[in-house]
């Protein structure tokens, strides 16, 4: 696992390094400590990583700019912050976890375990998906997403209005972040149930979801039962 810690408080950075090293053990491939905004941006642009620990308050600077950039990337982000009131905003942007300061080994271990087991985030409060565009970072409200289609290293977001955006996170990584109306219906598709018009059966156990703009999305056999239940629940 390749990890970067961005934290300007030296003792806290050291603490993170020590505890993460202990918890991750042999699976740790690399661990980099950075204390500056600019250094972090440079490093992340050139080094592929798996996990970022990010302090939101670097030398008095608001770290949300960097956070949005981070969330538009493929790696997972765990915010470590003294400002507990920022947790909700961070979760709305799609952080994997928010570790409030001061923290101990157990809290950090839990956060890392959740990441490893890909268990859904405890607080699925994602409101926006950060998407990198030529202009910078765009925050796309999740309510505007009809469905998500997984490719190899990225995910295509199909939006209301027919637009398409690419997100560097895998479909699986996004699944852990997206809130409840989003349901995995196929190995390569996640659908926003709020946008479903009907579920059609095509015989031979083949099913397709018809969305509100007429688009159809395949449903895998294994997931049909759960989907039916979700849709009923949704109707009720």
């Amino acid at each position: 696992m390749r990890i970067v810690i961005v934290e300007d408080e030296r003792m806290i950075a050291e603490r993170l390094r020590r505890l993460v090293t202990e918890i991750v053990g042999d699976r740790l491939e690399s661990l980099t400590l950075l204390d500056r905004f600019s250094l972090a941006r440079e490093h992340l642009a050139t080094h592929p990583i798996d996990l970022l620990f990010l302090d939101l308050d670097l030398y008095g600077r608001d770290g949300f700019g960097l956070l949005e950039e981070a969330l538009a990337s493929s790696f997972a982000t765990i915010v470590v912050s003294a400002h507990h009131d920022q947790a909700l905003r961070a979760f709305e942007l799609g952080v994997t976890d928010f570790v409030p300061k001061p923290f101990g080994r157990d809290r950090l271990a839990k956060s890392l375990a959740r990441l490893e087991t890909r268990e859904p985030a405890l607080r699925k409060q994602l409101q926006n998906l950060a998407v990198r565009t030529r202009r910078g970072i765009d925050l796309v409200p999740v309510a505007r997403v009809r469905y998500l289609q997984g490719a190899d290293d990225y995910t295509a977001l199909h939006l209301v209005g027919g637009q398409r955006r690419l997100h560097p996170k895998s479909l699986r990584a996004l699944e852990t972040l997206l809130p409840s109306p989003f349901t995995r219906v196929h190995r390569s598709f996640i659908v926003n149930l709020a946008r479903v018009r009907s579920l059609e059966s095509h015989g031979g156990g083949k099913h397709r979801i018809i969305l509100d703009d007429g688009t159809d999305v395949p449903v895998s056999r294994a997931r049909i039962a759960a989907l039916r239940q979700d849709l009923r629940m949704d109707d009720s």
Binding site: I12, R18, S38, Y59, G60, R61, D85, P102, G104
Partner: protein, 615 residues
């Protein structure tokens, strides 16, 4: 030779302002004579500027009795009772202008014919003889004595000093139409110094007008006096009850000085006095005129401070001395003091107006009114307009002061509100999540690594929180307490960053007042802007130094700290804005407008400088 008879200005009979008439009658003739070159120039300048005619020659009014003002007389040193007789042939006596007659060391006589017309002979019009002189006089009308005060004598002991202004009734039976002779037996042993002339007025005219005119002047003078005392009471009590600024004190004293000047001026028509007191009174008037103008100048200097005050003040003092040396007459000196004072004050006010200083418009109008009035006709202004113009000026300055008080009160209220917020802000620092949670996290790490250092850190944190709470609600605290807070903060930050910070603050007056939390805020800022922790170890700590100097009544502080490498400069507005607002607000709360503050990077240092009053 027969002395010429001239009706004096005629103003006495025309219902013109009595003030003007009286003072003119009493004082102007001597003044014109006594004034030296400067004063003459001033007078000429005034006449050129003034559009209003100074003398009204028309002589008819309700009484239609011309006042006969004697300008030339025959006089003779010596004493002989027969010199009172109208038949005496005095052709051999020398003639002189009345105003040129100076004091003598023995008894001397004056004689002059007086031609009374048909109006003078009217029984309904009581006549009087007026003498204004620095002399004791026995008056004789056609050889018969007139009642009077004072008694001439051959030497000082035997002379009984007469009043400066004598007005005696001329019985109707003796005031028939035709030629009469007025004689005066005089002595001047109670004069202190030789003035240019001992006689100011010798006149025959309507008794009532000559009696009433001074009292009418006195009434106006008293009204003006009341205004001045009210103004003095207002400014002085304002000063005493807390507004301890020099401008307010100056105005209070200026009101008192002009009130004193008014009393000294009005004393003569109101109460009169033996002529021996005339010179002391003139000296008093001269001193009060100087004081009034000096206070006016000091007020505008204090009220609208700018560079060059000291130089101008010294120049004005030197010019005042020069006036005393160069100008011989009292009235000329008084006029020149007013020219100096009003001119300088007016110029200074215009300068303040150009700089758009608050209330400079009101002050310029007030001082300008006096200056223009003075410049238009210096002696008329001093005799007639000065007190009313000063009242108007004081009123405008009072409004200006009130406006300033109002502004300051508003500022104070705003400052109080700010102070409450500032207290809260300082207390909040100790529980600010960024500070507290980061510190606790760092301490957690120290507990697991080196418990004894963690304990040090806890103690420092406790000290910082305790001090923040204790100092917050004070307007200022001794510098020592503020430094204690800074040391605690640097100890905490050193542990958080595993480096050493050092605050060099030797040779400071640790009892000096300091608004709480300002150096703490600047030190916090210095740490934020400072080099990354690699820069400081126990051997080579990151040094923050505080120095202080005294300069022109101000204590200047300078906090210097190293600046982080420019690779990642912090955005000032974000990192320093709140802190600097706090510092400025605290300084304003403690020292009003009497502080300066600036901070910013310079070369490789971060420098914060501020100055506050030294006492």
């Amino acid at each position: 030779m027969i002395g010429q008879l001239h009706p004096i200005d005629g103003e006495l009979h025309q219902g013109q302002p009595a003030v003007r008439a009286t003072l003119f009658a009493m004082a102007i003739p001597m003044r014109r004579r006594q004034c030296g070159g400067w004063a003459w120039w001033l007078s000429t300048f005034g006449v050129v500027l003034s559009c209003a005619p100074g003398v009204d020659e028309a002589g008819s009014s309700e009484t239609d009795v011309p006042t006969l003002s004697i300008e030339r007389v025959r006089w003779q040193l010596g004493d002989d009772p027969s010199w009172a007789q109208p038949a005496l042939d005095d052709a051999a006596w020398p003639t002189a202008d009345l105003l040129d007659l100076v004091g003598q060391d023995g008894i001397f006589w004056l004689r002059t014919p007086v031609q009374l017309g048909p109006r003078h002979a009217d029984a309904a019009v009581p006549l009087g003889v007026r003498v204004s002189a620095l002399a004791s006089c026995d008056l004789f009308w056609d050889g018969a004595p007139l009642p009077g005060e004072g008694r001439p004598g051959p030497d000082r002991d035997r002379e009984q000093a007469g009043p400066i202004d004598l007005l005696v009734h001329l019985p109707h039976a003796r005031a028939q139409e035709g030629l009469h002779v007025l004689a005066a037996r005089c002595s001047t042993h109670h004069r202190q110094i030789e003035l240019a002339g001992s006689f100011q007025t010798l006149a025959v005219g309507f008794y009532g007008a000559m009696l009433q005119a001074p009292l009418a002047y006195a009434g106006l003078a008293m009204a003006s006096l009341t205004a001045k005392f009210v103004a003095a009471a207002f400014f002085l009590s304002l000063f005493v009850i807390g507004r301890r600024d020099r401008a307010t004190l100056d105005l209070g004293l200026l009101s008192l000085a002009t009130a004193g000047l008014l009393i000294a001026e009005a004393w003569r028509p109101l109460f009169g006095y033996p002529y021996g007191w005339h010179v002391p009174r003139l000296l008093l008037i001269l001193g009060l005129a100087w004081l009034s103008n000096a206070l006016l100048v000091r007020f505008v200097f204090d009220r609208f401070p700018a560079r060059g005050r000291r130089g101008l003040g010294i120049a004005a003092a030197v010019a005042s001395m020069a006036v005393l040396l160069v100008e011989p007459s009292f009235d000329g000196r008084v006029a020149l003091f007013f020219l100096l004072g009003l001119g300088l004050a007016f110029g200074w006010c215009i300068g303040a107006l150009v700089r758009a200083a608050p209330d400079s418009g009101l002050a310029t109008a007030g001082v300008g009114l006096c200056f223009v009035g003075f410049a238009a006709s210096p002696f008329r202004f001093l005799d007639q307009g000065v007190f009313l113009a000063f009242d108007a000026m004081l009123m405008l300055l009072l409004i200006a002061q009130a406006a300033q008080v109002r502004r300051e009160r508003d500022a104070l209220e705003a400052a109080r509100l700010r102070a409450t917020r500032l207290q809260l802000e300082l207390v909040k620092k100790s529980i600010q999540p960024h500070f507290l949670m980061n510190t606790l996290t760092a301490l957690a790490e120290w507990f697991e690594r080196q418990p004894e250092r963690a304990t040090e850190g806890l103690e420092a944190l406790a000290a910082e929180i305790r001090l923040l709470g204790a100092l917050a609600d004070h307007r200022t605290v001794p510098l020592a307490r503020e430094l204690e807070l800074c040391h605690a903060h640097l100890a905490v930050m050193g542990l958080r960053r595993d480096c050493a910070y050092q605050l060099d603050a030797a040779d400071l007056d640790t009892t000096a007042p300091c608004p709480p939390g300002i150096i703490h805020t600047l030190v916090e800022n210095a740490v934020t802007h400072g080099p990354s922790p690699d820069g400081g170890s126990a051997d080579t700590p990151i040094r923050v130094s505080l120095t202080s100097t005294l300069h022109e009544g101000q204590r200047r502080y300078r906090l210097t700290s190293p600046l982080r490498a420019p690779a990642d400069p912090p955005r000032d507005a974000e990192t320093s804005g709140t802190g600097f607002r706090y510092v400025r607000a605290r300084l304003a709360e403690a020292f009003g407008e009497q502080f300066t503050f600036q901070a910013g990077p310079k070369d490789d240092r971060w420098i914060a400088e501020w100055s506050i009053p030294a006492s």
